[in-house]
């Protein structure tokens, strides 16, 4: 079931990517309406590519570079997958849903309603059902087309071989090509010689161009993506372009004075059609009216116009198949990768990542989809593992809690990395008062649940006066990212926190700057979270250094 849901989500995502390409192709197609239809036909290659291939190459020349695509593409060398709905969207661990808190999971922006009930989430049921319906739909389409194909096979069984791969048949009224391995042309009996000539030219051109393969293959794609209405439009439009470009080829080959005759024979086939319209594996004639019009209006463009249109098509093809290449490659490392990896960000550039984060800023912590989008953008799942999200919004302080499910081994590194993400979350979710994260951790051979708290007080300890101010603009977000990149994403936490007296903390021990949290860790053992807390925020009046800490009543920590 999980695999199925994942596959379904993948298909939806690829369908959405392809939809943009379809819209672009439809637009260009209208622009070059007067041009030979072969150009429009070729453009559909881009759509096909998008529907088949989940990854693409990057290029500066890409329609996805337009601003209307407010998406962040995680760059991975040159192979990029465009994601709109995260694959883990629908994966829920019901056991993590606690009573008394509003439990929600990541859901795609503004799509399905958020509903969580006691044990099993309604959302999960809905997605499961959707995935199953999708598969049933595919099966139905396949069965239907198989049946109509077999029926057509039976119908032409008595077709009489004429010559080469041409067969005459009583039971059909319109000519068509059928077959995958050995395509055959079927024509009705008693056609006039003239008509035969047109038709055979037309059908042979289909065969030469391998249209008889293109058509069933694109039908398979249609079946796979049947939930997406734009794919239907694309399929129909492509079929039209295919036929029309074939018509044009015949007319230009036989000479332009056959236009009228050719149109007449198109018409005569249309007037008594009883062709099984459902069968995509063979194709006959469609859209007679527009085809006749097209034939009559067709003229060979001047060579330089052809050149220009061909150039446009090539550019559009590349732009539609390529993923965006971001201007600064540095952006790749700009994602908060934690663990003190190199930061190549410079202060004066605002990366797309910062822009994207800025776009995703969210005034209400209660807007779970928006929260989810932020978490997704921050790559929480990739960096820290699976999690569930809890929101406490019934009273202040408003808390966003990320509950990780995987056992954490290197707690320090984990917390340091998460601190950065939490700081960004605090900045970008306007009314979030506190970010919490929890994870299982082994203490003295026992599994313990660690919870870490992160709020504005903590960020002030990082010398950030007003964390909320960093959501004012993309530049400010970038500033925060830079700050975090330099100050927070190496392990040198304590010294950069309180730079004015850093010598006391870093020089006292031989093992480096993380000495303070470790010291307290040792001391407090069971209450390890407090150590992290202390590492970032010493109470007023305390300076960095060595302290003895005891845990008093009510969880108060005493330092001396």
């Amino acid at each position: 079931m999980d695999v199925l849901v994942k596959l379904f989500v993948q298909i939806l995502n690829m369908g959405i990517t392809a939809s943009y390409v379809i819209l672009a192709v439809l637009l260009i197609r209208t622009c070059i309406k007067k041009a030979p239809k072969i150009y429009s036909y070729v453009l559909w290659l881009a759509v096909g590519f998008r529907l088949i291939c989940p990854v693409s190459f990057s290029s500066v020349l890409s329609i996805f570079n337009f601003n209307l695509f407010n998406k962040k593409y995680p760059l991975n060398d040159t192979v990029v997958i465009n994601t709109y709905i995260p694959a883990n969207t629908f994966v829920i661990q019901p056991s993590n849903i606690k009573a008394g808190t509003e439990a929600v999971t990541l859901i795609p922006k503004g799509s399905l309603p958020v509903l969580a009930s006691g044990g099993v989430s309604l959302l999960q049921i809905v997605t499961d059902i959707a995935a199953v319906l999708w598969v049933i739909g595919i099966a139905a389409f396949l069965i239907y087309s198989m049946i109509s194909y077999l029926r057509l096979m039976r119908r032409v069984a008595k077709a009489v071989h004429w010559k080469e791969n041409i067969y005459e048949c009583d039971t059909i009224t319109t000519p068509f090509v059928m077959g995958i391995w050995k395509p055959r042309i079927y024509i009705p009996f008693r056609l006039s010689e003239k008509e035969q000539n047109y038709i055979l030219k037309h059908e042979m051109y289909h065969i030469r161009r391998k249209d008889y393969l293109v058509k069933p293959f694109s039908f398979l794609l249609l079946v796979l993506y049947w939930v997406n209405p734009l794919i239907w439009i694309a399929y129909i439009s492509m079929s039209k372009d295919m036929e029309m470009s074939c018509d044009e080829k015949v007319v230009s080959e036989l000479g332009f004075d056959v236009k009228a005759d050719y149109s007449m024979s198109l018409l005569s086939f249309a007037s008594h059609r009883s062709f099984p319209a459902g069968s995509p594996l063979a194709f006959g004639e469609t859209n007679t009216k527009s085809r006749v019009k097209n034939v009559l209006h067709f003229k060979k463009p001047r060579w330089w116009i052809s050149m220009i249109i061909a150039m446009i098509c090539i550019v559009v093809l590349i732009a539609c198949t390529a993923n965006p290449k971001n201007k600064s490659e540095a952006e790749t490392s700009n994602q908060i990768t934690g663990a003190g990896t190199e930061n190549t960000i410079t202060d004066d550039t605002v990366t797309d990542y910062a822009k994207q984060l800025y776009e995703l800023r969210n005034p209400y912590i209660g807007d779970a989809p928006a929260d989810g989008a932020l978490l997704k953008e921050l790559g929480i799942q990739e960096k820290f593992g699976d999690y569930t999200l809890e929101l406490e919004t019934s009273k202040t302080p408003y808390i966003l809690r990320i509950m990780f499910t995987d056992l954490v081994t290197d707690r320090d590194a984990f917390d340091v990395k998460m601190t950065g993400c939490a700081t960004i979350l605090l900045a970008l979710i306007d009314n979030a008062d506190e970010i919490q994260w929890s994870y299982p951790y082994m203490v003295d051979g026992q599994k313990d649940q660690i919870t870490v708290y992160w709020n504005e007080q903590n960020t002030r300890a990082m010398n950030i006066e007003d964390i909320k101010a960093y959501s004012e603009s993309a530049e400010k977000v970038q500033e925060l990212l830079n700050l975090l990149g330099e100050a927070k994403f190496d392990s040198n936490i304590t010294s950069s926190d309180n730079s004015q007296n850093s010598e006391s903390s870093s020089s006292n021990t031989g093992e480096g700057p993380s000495a303070l949290p470790l010291q307290i860790n040792d001391f407090l053992k069971k209450n390890v979270t407090m150590a992290t807390y202390l590492a970032y925020q010493l109470p007023d009046g305390y300076e960095n250094g060595y302290y003895t800490a005891t845990l008093g009543e009510g969880g108060n920590l005493f330092l001396y």
Binding site: A157, K158, A159, V160, H161, Y167, C169, D170, R190
Partner: protein, 119 residues
């Protein structure tokens, strides 16, 4: 007589039968494959169908003709005349001749044909 009408495929099949009858059904299958591109099953189905219609007979795997070629052609011609020339012979001949000239020999032959058919 109306049930003597054949569709084009069946007519093409019958042409082979008329030419070769009596013919073994196995051999007929080969002939149909060669000349019509038919599968074995298609040929057998057609034999069965035309047996039911009374055109041919299939006994001991030998196919024989029941209705001669001329009878079927006459029906076809009648149908064609009726549909295209409203059954009018002069109209048909006029259309057939068109702007063509016929030789004395041909004219004589036709005259004889007409005389022999006079009531």
């Amino acid at each position: 007589m109306d049930n003597l009408k054949l569709c084009d495929s069946d007519y093409r099949f019958m042409l082979i039968v008329w030419e070769n009858a009596p013919v073994g059904s196995g051999h007929l299958v080969e002939l149909c494959l060669e000349k019509l591109g038919w599968k074995k099953s298609t040929t057998y189905t057609t034999i069965k169908k035309l047996c039911e219609k009374g055109f041919i007979m299939n006994e001991n795997a030998v196919v024989t003709v029941l209705i001669p070629k001329e009878a079927v052609q006459a029906v076809e011609t009648d149908y064609f005349m009726e549909r295209t020339f409203e059954g009018s012979l002069p109209q048909f001949i006029a259309a057939f001749l068109g702007s063509r000239k016929i030789s004395d020999k041909e004219a004589e032959e036709i005259r004889r044909l007409i005389d022999s058919h006079k009531e």
